[in-house]
Amino acid sequence: MTTSIQPAEQLSATTLLRFATAGSVDDGKSTLVGRLLHDSKSVLTDQLEAVALASTNRGQEAPDLALLTDGLRAEREQGITIDVAYRYFATPRRRFILADTPGHVQYTRNMVTGASTAELAVVLVDARNGVVEQTRRHAAVAALLRVPHVVLAVNKMDLVDYAEPVFAAIAEEFTAYAASLGVPEITAIPISALAGDNVVEPSAHMDWYGGPTVLEHLETVPVSHDLTECHARFPVQYVIRPQTADHPDYRGYAGQIAAGVLRVGERVAVLPSGRTTTIEGIDALGESVDIAWAPQSVTIRLADDIDVSRGDLIAPADDAPAVTQDVEATVCHVADQPLTVGQRVLLKHTTRTVKAIVKDIPSRLTLDDLSQHPAPGKLVANDIGRVVVRTAEPLALDAYADSRRTGSFLLIDPADGTTLTAGMAGASFASEADEDADAGTSAEDAEWDF
């Protein structure tokens, strides 16, 4: 379907997909990324020339495509990728933002960073090795971050004679594991990134495979779910009050809709105060509209002149989140300095930053086998654990399972501003939420909004 891409055809692309790649150092991630970029005309002549020149200067015979993506001096010196990089490419059907994350174990925080904004994660596996510890770690991070779509790319099929049973066994093992973590949608694709099988072009060597190529799947996977089922959430960013002759009484609450749909005339509550009013108007960047949805940036006008400021959350009056000062969450520790019980921190949730104290660290998760290490006392870089935090002011916090945007937060060191941890409120994995839920809970509560 997607054969050679004609440059001008990219102009017709209408939607945007953000996705992340994960893979160990030798799984062929760079080759896959290189092929996606190259075959979509995203690597241009001058970039290739620069890579060829740099490779020659190093005494390498062939252009080293890793130099395309390793942008920092230290990365090129050490020949490793140390940081997330964002890359851009387009096909006639869609634009893509790729969070290219390093594969080293010690950079779990980087995969968390890349996955936090991704709608899809590609997990690479070497067909010769099958599902290994690192694969389980990547699946677990994708599940923790609740990335809506996961692609298992079984790479290096050329080195196992393109044998279907090899692929089928890996796909089955991975799917069972990921499903147990609650990953909602898994697509397994047998590929050879080096030979180009099933990346952009369908493979001539695997006629037993009837599914999409990697690119075809990226192009067609749905990017936004049915938002009518989501709880609407609007964190107030900024109050717009022109106080000019043209707009003497204009008072609008600017923000980006975090989840769901808002309509003019809807009865809403302003949290944490809990006061209720009605949406009088919605201004969508210069145009007055009756309805707006995530992730549009809009300005909302309310019928009553009540006290609303940055950090407040506007939500439907009959569907507002509970307000709490006690936060239980799974966190990924992203800083070099540790997080300890009793530590005073700042907690940033949507547009609100409040003082907080770490009351407890009940457990640390071992990603390899998902076992819980009880009461570790502290979390260090790349640790994932459960924490209990008490905040100085109430927060309108959702479960991360219900909304990635209003269920996530940062812990920040008040002394030097360092981002310490990435937090996800509520149960760690969707499977746990299912177990916790009573029999009476409807099926749609177990689904992820996005």
């Binding site: 001058d46 390793d70 634009r95 547009t351």
Partner: protein, 311 residues
């Protein structure tokens, strides 16, 4: 605003945003975050298409109120007259405040020395960082895009700079979800890049959709140019051409706008936005590869300049 996008199977998903609407919404969110969290933000404005786009997004973000930020232009003294004219008209039209940091003044005062190659782009760093300190700006918006250059691909949306305005790529804060951490100590500031995720093509398509006016040098016109290091430079009082370089009149346009001494024109007959977009979509060269001499100085030229405080 066109918010309905056609999904690949041909059906219309009423809740899918078009890629331009997604990028616009994200950029507006970033502008508003800075307005909500910082005391003295400023927008770097060069009169180039990326800063013009940023200004347009800022105007939409705070409408119907005026933009709550001033502009800062680092004037190299070698700017295109059409661009300075555009800058001044824009400031006037929107009632903005403009600060100018002048490289020429620094050279005249003996605080900066002209480089032998005549290129003034690297000389911008000192006037820029001193202006930031002098005005105590705590957030500085730049139009940098990650698709421009491989060091920029590693830059955060919120990029903390120390009291010397230095960037340390190894000490960047992880950036998670849309939760931007702007904490900084007195004397430090944050560089903010609202259009990080835009590509050159996105910028042009958005300019066309919104009907944004640009300086005319972005469109094909006849110009006196001469060839240096494989690029067409505009002849002028800034120091070109030299004795052995010959001037000729060519039909050209600019893909980027910067210092005249190091920004090259490209051969083009594209006189309309449509024609420019078609030309870029077909180009086999990146924007910087086609037109920027200073990036070719070394493999890490951009990273090194950014470390020193360049935007």
């Amino acid at each position: 605003m066109s918010t309905v996008a056609t999904v690949p199977d041909g059906t219309v998903n009423p809740y899918a945003l078009s890629h331009l609407d997604s990028l616009e919404s994200e950029a507006v969110h970033i502008f508003r975050e800075v307005a909500g969290e910082f005391e003295r933000p400023v927008i770097l404005f060069s009169g180039g298409k990326d800063s013009i786009l940023m200004l347009h997004l800022a105007l939409k973000a705070f409408a119907p109120a005026p933009i709550p930020f001033a502009l800062l232009h680092v004037d190299t003294g070698h700017n295109f007259p059409e661009v300075l004219d555009y800058r001044d008209r824009t400031v006037e039209k929107h009632g903005l405040r403009l600060h100018v940091a002048s490289v020429q003044e620094y050279i005249d005062a003996g605080k900066l020395r002209e480089r032998p190659d005549g290129t003034r782009n690297p000389l911008q760093t000192v006037p820029l960082t001193e202006a930031i300190q002098r005005h105590r700006f705590d957030a500085v918006f730049g139009g940098g895009r990650r698709d421009e250059e491989k060091a920029r691909a590693k830059e955060r949306v919120f990029s903390l700079r120390d009291e010397f305005s230095q960037w340390d790529p190894r000490r960047q804060r992880p950036e998670l979800w849309q939760l931007y951490n702007g904490r900084h100590a007195a004397g430090e500031h944050v560089r903010v890049f609202p259009i990080s995720n835009w590509t050159e093509l996105d910028v042009w398509q958005y300019i066309e959709r919104e009907g944004i006016e640009l300086p005319e040098i972005y469109f094909a016109h006849e110009r006196e140019v001469f060839s240096r290091s494989g690029m067409w430079l505009t002849a002028g009082g800034w120091g070109g051409p030299k004795d052995h370089e010959r001037t000729e009149t060519r039909l050209v346009r600019y893909r980027t706008v910067g210092d005249m001494s190091c920004t090259g024109a490209v051969d083009s007959d594209a006189t309309t936005l449509d024609a420019v977009i078609t030309e870029i979509a077909a180009s086999r060269l990146t924007e910087r590869g086609a037109t920027r001499a200073d990036d070719k100085m070394s493999e890490a030229a951009m990273e090194d300049r950014k470390r020193e405080g360049y935007f």
